[in-house]
Amino acid sequence: MSIRRQCYEWRNIGQSKNLLITPPLVSNNEFNDVILNSYPVSAINYKVGTASEKQFWCVVPIANNAVVDIFNGDIGNNLDIPGQLKAYQFIVLDGIAVYPETFNAQIIVNTTRYFQDPDGVPSRDGGISGATVPFPNGAPPSTATSLARGRLGGMLNIDFQEGLQPPVIIQPGDRWAVEVKNNSGKTWPFERGSFGLKTTTDIGVARCYIKYLLIDGADCIVAQRLIDAGWPLTVENLWRYKQDLIKSHIYAGMAELPDEIKNARRKV
């Protein structure tokens, strides 16, 4: 029984197969594009550009128009299995953000895509863009000009600062996913060769962030009651419903007893 504020973050970072300076070396310049159930361990590349170079940091390039599932897309940090809710869980997905600004993020619940174009077709751009919901909020633009000038700060999420309103309700048993799509017109990070891929700062790291309320256990039953009654699934409403339950219980304790019980002889 709990109501917990959860978040998940994806980045397109690979993990070196070799994390040792001294022999034995597994190999140089070899990376796993995906790492399961954790984030990759990284470090500054050793003597980059020399014969003794060893790579400990690299972002995985994402092709133009490629769509990557942030849970199971085989790039960056992934999960073993897709996101699926247990019979006693609800998720209220109310926050999504993506970077760079030329990437888009789409929420998928079962077979339905959340963002759609005005003609009713699922968003051809791949959802909401990083220009609207940059991650982090205030992230610098990733354009080459900005890089050259070393600008700090920049894009602000104004319209979706309160998250998705109304939020996406994911029900028990539902399967869900979030996909990001590269709409930059080039492979990301563009204008970078292999040297750029292994020396990039945060500005070259694609990322996607989601924030959600996980309701599980007995609170899931309360959530179902709220949905049945047409109430928004918020922390405050869940609390309030539980207060009412407790209050009803107290009222029940105050109710008059039937006469036959009230007048019955007391037995010790």
Binding site: R4, C7, I44, Y46, L79, N157, T201, V205, I246
Partner: protein, 255 residues
């Protein structure tokens, strides 16, 4: 009732940070370490996890940590001192043996990143993550906050990009903000939780006022509890109206 903060910081050790010159000062990457009882950084001298006393109640309201992903976000001054480092860190809350954060496949996760909830917050930061609802830690429970670093400072030091990591450089930091309800306030907090009322400074103060007004529990207990809940709801409604965030329900009446 006291608003508390606890910060943990990992400073440089005035060496170049290589494995040969700095043994045991920097936490191993990819592993969880406690900000209260771990072996690294400025932990409390006693190195104990926080055990909430039997007359205490803790409400954790905010956590944050150093932002930054790429190890190439480092900066070195003209004298060869490392002055900025991206730890690529995540933080997690652990109560007794339970992790607060789990991933979408319902297993343990590293927690919240510094980008989602940065510390310190700079002018261009506008954090997405907010710990809402807050986390209650009940009497006799232990609470721990653990961090995981994913950028290896010592492996990076081998590349000779800097000659010294001064003590003044903070490589990683964690921030925790919570309210400590102690003594009778702790007992009242527990009672409010049992009644399903959110525990915060306002609700505990209101409950205390009620207790004083009723001079203890001489009135019928059931009626008292009902009055407590009704009063809290009214107080909350008034507060929302005063703050200008009341909704239609607050005005139409809902009981």
């Amino acid at each position: 009732m006291r608003k508390q903060i606890y910060t943990w910081e990992l400073h440089g050790d005035d060496t170049d940070g290589r494995l040969a010159s700095s043994q045991g000062h920097y936490p191993p990457v990819g592993t969880e370490n406690s900000i209260l009882s771990g072996a690294f950084g400025n932990v409390q001298p006693a190195r104990q996890t926080a055990l909430v006393g039997e007359d205490e109640f803790i409400v954790i309201e905010k956590i944050g940590c150093t932002p930054g992903i790429s190890p190439y976000g480092f900066r070195v001054d003209g004298a060869g001192n490392l002055v900025k480092w991206n730890p690529n860190m995540f933080i997690n809350i652990v109560i007794d043996t339970t992790n607060y954060y789990q991933d979408p496949q319902n297993v343990w996760s590293s927690g919240v990143s510094g980008y989602a909830s940065p510390y310190p917050i700079q002018t261009f930061d506008n954090p997405y993550y907010e710990l809402w609802p807050p986390v209650y830690v009940l009497p006799d429970q232990t609470v721990d906050v653990r961090y995981t670093l994913f950028n290896d400072i010592q492996l990076s030091a081998e590349n000779n990009d800097w000659t010294n990591i001064p003590y003044s450089t903070i490589l990683a930091a964690v921030y925790v903000e919570y309210t400590l309800f102690d003594g009778t306030d702790g007992l009242m907090a527990r009672k409010l939780m049992n009644l399903g009322i959110p525990v915060n400074v306002g609700t505990v103060e209101n409950y205390r006022r009620l207790l004083l007004k009723s001079k203890g529990l001489e009135t019928e207990t059931f009626e008292f509890y009902l009055e407590a809940m009704r009063s809290e709801r009214e107080r909350r409604k008034r507060e929302r109206k005063n703050q200008g965030v009341a909704t239609q329900q607050d005005y139409d009446g809902d009981l």
